[in-house]
């Protein structure tokens, strides 16, 4: 019996019970469709939101002075000169690199004061990267690279009752113990969905911030962006190789652990749901395979009696199960792919409360989809694993089948 013949026999065998095969394959394909839909939506929104959310703060990666992470000291800075920038831009896979000077200060206006987070950014480069200008709700964005003006978060402006054109004082500790004090005009009020940031953030042009903290041409971080979220590990590796020991490379998950945890939790709950779904489908598949084995004991006994090897019989049953599963998988993919493709190009637009919640978290209120091949492969792998587990039963059954008793039909 040639392998092709075994395969043809298996294929014919499964269609002896057309309805059963179709129902089993249908269950697999439905589970696959649901699982793919959900995972595609999850992974799609992770990479979309990551790409978006990281632009405002962490970037894909940040280069920092090794001691900066510890207490964000204004004394722990990296150079911002041309040669250093050239070195950064030659890191393989870097598409964008923007400098930032981040520190703390006491913000004051009128007779109120409050600790604020100061972010010095290169106005044009920053806007190209994070679209900061679009966040300006009132007033305007920075008009020059060294303007003595600030953009303040909406909640912070509320606290100080700031209006456009008002004076705002920043007062704190500068580089190497100097006193940092500056008087600025409020150019604009920006809105951040994240309330904590909105109540603390003050943006300055980078050159103005460097003058305030008397740092010279230095920055607290170089923020790096690459082409795709999935390239981050590779980008991180090449950044480490390029920059050496004197520069610390931190990825977004290290800088914004709360974002990383949120994603990990969401992903885990999605995977759990899928496992439950596949658990149900797995029992369906198992039932079919059990029936396929039990109702054909006599048939198997005849085949063994006429000289068929047990091993070949086992291969036959495995092939039958495999064909059912593959039919299911192919049906699932054929159904899922056009749907996912549609949503990939037309992401679901969220509205109402859900949209507000999303924006609160700093995400865009859309549900993009992912078409990553890993997703499809992963689902296929799960189905095949189920199949292997289910096939153990008929294998054992055939191995133990007693030919004489089987022929008589009394088992």
């Amino acid at each position: 019996m040639t392998p092709e013949f075994t395969a043809r026999l298996a294929w014919r065998n499964i269609w002896r019970q057309k309805r059963r095969t179709l129902i089993t394959a249908g269950a697999i394909s439905a589970a696959l469709l649901l699982a793919l839909f959900m995972r595609s939506m999850q992974e799609g929104s992770y990479s979309q939101n990551l790409d978006n959310a990281t632009r405002f703060y962490s970037g894909y990666l940040q280069l920092q002075e090794p001691g900066f992470a510890e207490n964000q000291s204004i004394d722990r800075l990296l150079p911002a000169d041309q040669s250093f920038e050239t070195k950064i831009r030659s890191i393989k896979g870097v598409s964008i690199a923007v400098p930032r000077l981040e520190s703390f200060a006491l913000g004051a206006a009128g007779d109120r004061s409050k600790g604020v987070m100061v972010m010095g950014v290169a106005p044009r480069a920053e806007n190209d990267y994070s679209g900061l200008a679009e966040r300006v709700q009132k007033g305007r964005y920075f008009s020059s690279e060294d303007e003595k003006a600030v953009l303040v978060g909406g909640k912070l402006a509320e606290y100080f009752s700031l209006k456009i054109g008002n004076e705002f004082v920043l007062y704190g500790q500068g580089y190497h113990g100097t006193t940092a004090a500056g008087l600025y005009k409020v150019a604009g009020i920006i809105h951040f969905p994240n309330q904590q940031i909105d109540a603390r953030i003050v943006y300055l042009p980078l050159k103005t911030a460097q003058a305030l903290y008397q740092t010279g041409n230095q920055v607290s971080a170089w923020v790096l962006h690459g082409d795709a979220v999935k390239e981050i590990p590779r980008l991180e590796k090449s950044a480490r190789e390029q920059m050496g020991k004197s520069v610390k490379v931190r990825n977004w998950a290290d800088i914004s652990p709360e974002l990383a945890q949120q994603i990990a939790l969401d992903r885990a709950s999605g995977i759990f749901m899928i496992l439950v779904l596949y658990g149900v489908v797995g029992f369906g598949l198992f039932a079919t395979i059990v029936m396929m084995t039990l109702e054909r004991r006599r048939e198997f006994a005849v085949m063994l009696a006429t000289g068929m090897e047990r091993a070949k019989l086992q291969v036959l049953v495995i092939l039958e199960s495999l064909f059912i599963a593959l039919t299911g998988v192919i049906m699932g993919f054929v159904l899922a792919f056009p749907i996912l493709l549609w949503f990939y190009y037309h992401p679901i637009q969220l509205t109402g409360d859900l949209a507000a919640t999303f924006e609160e978290m700093g995400f865009e209120a859309i549900m993009p989809f992912s078409l990553a091949p890993e997703l499809f492969l992963g689902q296929m792998l799960i189905v095949l694993t189920l199949l292997v587990i289910c096939c153990l039963y008929p294998l054992v059954r055939i191995f133990k089948l007693e030919v004489a008793a089987g022929l008589k039909g009394n088992l």
Partner: protein, 250 residues
Amino acid sequence: MKKSLIFLFIVFFGMAGLAQADSASEIITKADLKMRGQSSYTEMTMQIVRPSWTRSMSMKAWTKEQNYSLVLVTAPAQDKGSSSLKRFKEMWNWVPNIERIIKIAPSMLGQSWMGSDFTNDDLINQSSIVVDYIHKLIKEEAFDKAPCWVVEATPKPNAPVVWGKQVIWISKGEYNMRKVEYYDEFEDLINTMSTFDVKTLGGRKIPARQEMQPADKPDQKTVLLYHKAQFNFDIPTDFFSQKNMRDLRI
């Protein structure tokens, strides 16, 4: 008979407890008065020591009673004329190069003063140790060869303070604060202040060197050196005004 014995017992030890609490507060009050008097004037240098740099600042300070103090920075040139004013529970900084007075929010009192290891509260709100804390004598121990009382000070409920606890070593006889340990609300040691070089300044024997050491950063500290002191002179209350903090050019 038995009952009255117990009663006596309670009264006796209760009184003893009271007497002790009283004397701990007395020790603190005396130590506080020792450093500031009814009014005080001091000239000092502050050295901020960091692993990669050090910085030195000169200043003059005036205090009156427990409620008024004014600190003026006289060097280096870029910070010259900066001043901090405290009236009762409020605090302001004058920043000469932007010509603005900044009111320090109560939430900022725990922050560093001019980049040093002293907090705003340590430098300008010293008297609160007398008014805002409950004092308890916990032991006697020598510090820098001087026998000391060790007093534990815990804040009174709702007191506007930044520390969860302070443990203070006060030398017997001289009533000098020789060592202060500052704890946060989780009872973790944050800063330790130690004082050395007791000598006569302004007619009083006081420590001329104070060192503030953060617990988690062994390689950094701030040293305060007293050069001149004067106590119990007449100074009008309106010396401690926002106008004067701007105009001081001494």
